[in-house]
Symmetry: C2
Subunit: 260 residues, 2 copies
């Protein structure tokens, strides 16, 4: 199937159930049956059956009095192995704290997941005005510093898949031309870090660096993001040193081989 037009065999009923789960998860407050049915576009009786199923399986909780549904903590339980307190997470957290102690800025640790990045750790800085990303937040690869920092160190096949998936314009400086984007990734790979200067958002700039694993693979990285009023190009230059030192040290401690 990979690279093929023919889709893999799948289960349409399961897709429906997952759509219902996502609708409930996305809502900041409990939802009624009609709300969910409207959000997912399924018949009420189909939606009702899926809600019952998810509740019985423990993924959502039904408030029997209000007849409303909300997400259960079971999904947090499923995430356990992903977010477990292990050596990698501990060392990473130390490095985030180090950068934040040196710079005062909020620092993020992200992983590559499919064709996006996911924020998994964060240490808040002292600045009152900061970019407020949440654990679990996903970001595109083509127009964020962390996305480019991770993508530049993937194999060419994957890079081409991302390019083929499209480079939609998100801000005034988003690179949408495939050739220009490939050049940018070459630059990122050469210099070992990436900058987002109004590519993802016109009010924010970022800088990010990859973390290397023992086999040379890159699956996560560190980034600093902030409002462009404070994150001038000069400020990014000041942040580069602490960021790269931390990324290098973390890679070494994990047994990684940066810049091989």
């Amino acid at each position: 199937m990979p690279g093929s037009d023919r889709k893999a065999v799948t289960s349409s009923t399961t897709f429906k159930a997952l759509r219902v789960l996502e609708a409930v998860a996305a809502s900041p407050q409990p939802m009624g049956l009609s709300d969910v049915a409207e959000a997912v576009g399924f018949d009420k009786s189909t939606t009702y059956r899926m809600l019952n199923t998810l509740a019985e399986a423990g993924y959502i909780v039904r408030d029997d009095l209000a007849k409303r549904y909300s997400l259960s903590y079971k999904v947090v339980y499923l995430s356990r192995n992903l977010l477990a307190e292990n050596e990698v997470m501990r060392l990473s957290h130390q490095m985030l704290e180090r950068i934040t102690a040196e710079t005062g800025e909020t620092t993020h640790l992200c992983v590559l997941d499919g064709q996006q990045t996911v924020l998994i750790q964060k240490v808040k800085g002292t600045q009152l005005v900061a970019v407020d990303f949440q654990i679990g937040d996903r970001s595109p690869l083509h127009c964020t510093s962390i996305g480019k920092a991770l993508l530049a160190f993937q194999d060419v096949r994957f890079i081409e898949e991302v390019i083929a998936a499209g480079l939609p314009k998100m801000a005034s400086n988003t690179l949408t031309d495939p050739e220009a984007f490939r050049k940018e990734l070459h630059l990122v790979r050469a210099q070992g870090y990436a900058i987002d200067d109004h590519e993802f958002s016109d009010s924010m700039r970022c800088i990010a660096a990859p973390i290397f694993e023992p086999d040379g693979h890159v699956g996560m990285g560190i980034s600093l993001s902030g409002p462009d009023t404070r994150y001038t190009l000069q400020r990014l230059e000041e942040l580069r040193g602490p960021l790269l030192r931390a990324a290098w040290d973390l890679s070494e401690r994990l047994g990684g081989a940066p810049w091989k």
Copy 2:
């Protein structure tokens, strides 16, 4: 359906898919098709279809070379609203840090989720030997201090449901007699905290207190747990003050009304 023998209408196909998801999530390393099929007990072709579905929906990632499946960070993304950085989480974290600063012990914040508790926040203490619970870990209600601390403040109907579900013996001091257990909950309610003295595990003791919301409802609490060699009954007595002050202060800051 509540209280009825008749089950709600559900989707058996969805249950199968969720079982597959849970099997992949539970594995510390990527699994092949045959591994998953064996773990869930479904035919390989059924399992194959569910894996394809979960992969296409983004919940698991397929390594095309090794033909192995692992959990995606999408479940972390679904958890966003549950673990979001909000005022409750910020204040709670401050209180955990306060207790840990005063006592040196690891502190936990747990929520009531169905008939279990889930660990959602943790501040590590300075002690080398500590109970190593993970974010997402679930615990029973009937034999943990946090379980009893939360259960004691639920309405009687829910308490009776938990008792009806069974009080299995987990350690030498587990309360398995319903009447003795009801008395214990009365005591917890009266004193405002709970102690687990070899009820959950014969090598650990714990103390926990509920957090009150503005409407008087109790949905989460704080607990301290440790090896029984350090967590003597006297030590629990020493921890009671810092724990109750923090729980009280957090309840007040959240607008809650403790012990109404």
